[in-house]
Assembly symmetry: C3
Homo-oligomer: 276 residues x 3
């Protein structure tokens, strides 16, 4: 039996089934580097991606979408009004929104823009440890867009951020920590180091969170299922690729393959989740 606030693997898997049945539309404003991979990841899990950034239409897209995701990887002044508008539209309509603060702390400009976007109270923020620490106003020593801080050190920052946005924060890394303003706290121990050797794997995690949030009204649980799913996929893909002697190119392909083919049995036997 599973505690409702401490769902086991089988409980999380039910959301995967629902996602595949409902094929939710996910509206992304994301960065140029990862657009193609993110769209293919969303398709592989059973979601329907739409990417649009024109301020003239993003509110309309958010209205027909089940969830929105904003990613600032290739930040551009002209896109910021659209990023704000899509987060605001989601908030007003009560739709889930995800913010991926790529490179937070790397430049003053990113920090200013992120401070503004956080005012729109996204449902979920997912970042690596140094990004989350930077968001919470502490020094995270961000080196470009990769994390140089340990996820554990970011947990206090993440808790403060949860209270600030009144929502869910995920600190991703070798372990993923998913927490919300009510104090729920899950730890995931899946994944593989190669997930940092293919561009867009982290950004895709944020897109996957949005997809699950479109079909699961509890944003903390949606985030948990998404990170659980993606971490298990990353681990199974690495196991598959290592059998054939492939490298990171083959791994990127395997992520998409496994994401669409993973079964309940594989998911449940691989997932390592715990609660604090």
């Amino acid at each position: 039996m599973t505690h409702p606030e401490q769902p086991n693997a089988a409980a999380l898997w039910r959301d995967v089934v629902v996602l595949r049945e409902q094929t939710p539309l996910v509206h992304s404003i994301t960065n140029f580097v990862v657009m193609q991979f993110n769209a293919n990841v969303l398709l592989s899990i059973g979601a329907s991606p739409v990417m649009a950034h024109a301020v003239e239409e993003v509110a309309d897209m958010a209205r027909i979408a089940g969830a929105v995701v904003v990613n600032i990887g290739t930040l551009d002044a002209q896109w910021i009004p659209s990023m704000r508008l899509v987060l605001e539209t989601a908030r007003i309509l009560g739709k889930p929104s995800v913010l991926d603060p790529v490179g937070a702390g790397a430049t003053a400009y990113r920090n200013e823009v992120l401070a503004m976007l956080l005012q729109e109270k996204p449902s979920v923020v997912r970042g690596n440890a140094s990004e989350i620490m930077s968001l919470a106003g502490m020094s995270g020593a961000t080196k470009g867009v990769d994390s140089t801080a340990r996820p554990e050190a970011a947990i206090d920052c993440a808790r403060a951020l949860c209270r600030d946005i009144g929502g869910v924060v995920c600190v991703s890394g070798p372990q993923d920590h998913i927490m919300d303003a009510s104090g729920r706290f899950a730890v995931l121990d899946n994944g593989h180091p190669w997930m940092t050797r293919v561009t867009g794997v982290g950004c895709s995690a944020s897109a996957v969170i949005a997809a699950f949030a479109a079909i699961q009204p509890d944003a903390w649980r949606a985030c948990l299922t998404a990170m659980a799913f993606w971490g298990v996929v990353g681990e199974l893909a690495a196991a598959k690729v290592s059998l054939t002697g492939g490298g990171t190119g083959t791994y990127a392909t395997a992520l998409l393959d496994i994401s669409g083919q993973i079964t309940e049995e594989q998911f449940c036997s691989t997932l390592r989740v715990s609660y604090r």
Copy 2:
């Protein structure tokens, strides 16, 4: 023997041979999500892709290109003058042009922009059923960028659109319908459902149409060959991938492999074309 207005597979294959010999330059203004895949598809069929969107140079690019393609997937107000200019330049120079109305009907903004672009009378419009219905001013119930209307229901709309632009319209889907203002009408029955599970496969069809239109002066026939080629590639790639248990990641790779390796015998024995 093949009727000149009802070319059989062997007749269509001759255009593939010509394309591979002539390596036409195709100028694309397309969306961010699919640019890389579209460029790789064009290279795989033997064409030479160039992507440029600056209003300062798009007319120059259109002048040296054999054909142009405009795709509004990630529409941006600043790109619209370039989209108009490249279609206008092609029209004035008598070069073939293809319009891919991604997400037509999804937002009012898209519809306005598309109405404007249609005034430039592109040689070919290719879209899914709901996009074509939306273009023709009817309700197609577009959900994001995926089609929710049956291709057959869009045929009357497509015929009206043919008359409006004085050109060729392709309604793509499980079957592809290719028609022109003079009443020619071909139906293709190739492809595979996985073609909708990899981003950019539809957009690449439009790029492939432009490539064939660069070497085949009859735009209807160029569109027919292109859709025939791409549908057969999609079907053969699925057959190959299913043998090895691969998923949609492997499938995207296989599309490029097969596109460059397909032989006349494979093409002719797989193609299912009929005429009305």
Copy 3:
């Protein structure tokens, strides 16, 4: 024993080892078509990519990066101030910079912008023969973004360009020619024709040059190692793919695999370098 100005394969390999140890941050302003592939190539060789183009932050990014690369493939008037600023920042800080003049000669606009960017004296310029000839003010008969001039014919142009920028020029093609203002001149004879059948392989060479320049203070030698590495990877990947009957899709994947897995023995036994 190796002459210091004529390094042999083992000497060049030492830079590969250093790169993998130091994981330098490479800041790219590059074109939309190749961003994902370039990022994955940089990750595969052991570098850390960051892509940012907002004029508000590119100087900050250049400051934390080990090297910068500017690629004008999808040129946009709004990006030009950022391109200038990042090259200027690198020059002032004494950091290496690479300019990839994609499509030089194809339009008057490209030529004007390139003339302006060359004033910032990039450390290295890498282009195909017609691009380099166009940069040096001669007719290179550029067809879109592919070269129609023989690399050898471009060498005089490249020498003039070396003197103009006071730096390194690489003319890439079936053979790669790497020269600097002091008269050093290396010729590489690796690679494979398929490197022109996957989009972004040339642009990635420029990114790889930047990565090596971040860890090797001699820009000529960094360029030499980079082109040697990438050419050998391209050749080994083709050999691997031809064994399995794959095409250009599989080849793109193999480039990333081999790039991360290549050993000193493979590199040294495959490299063909000579000096003039």
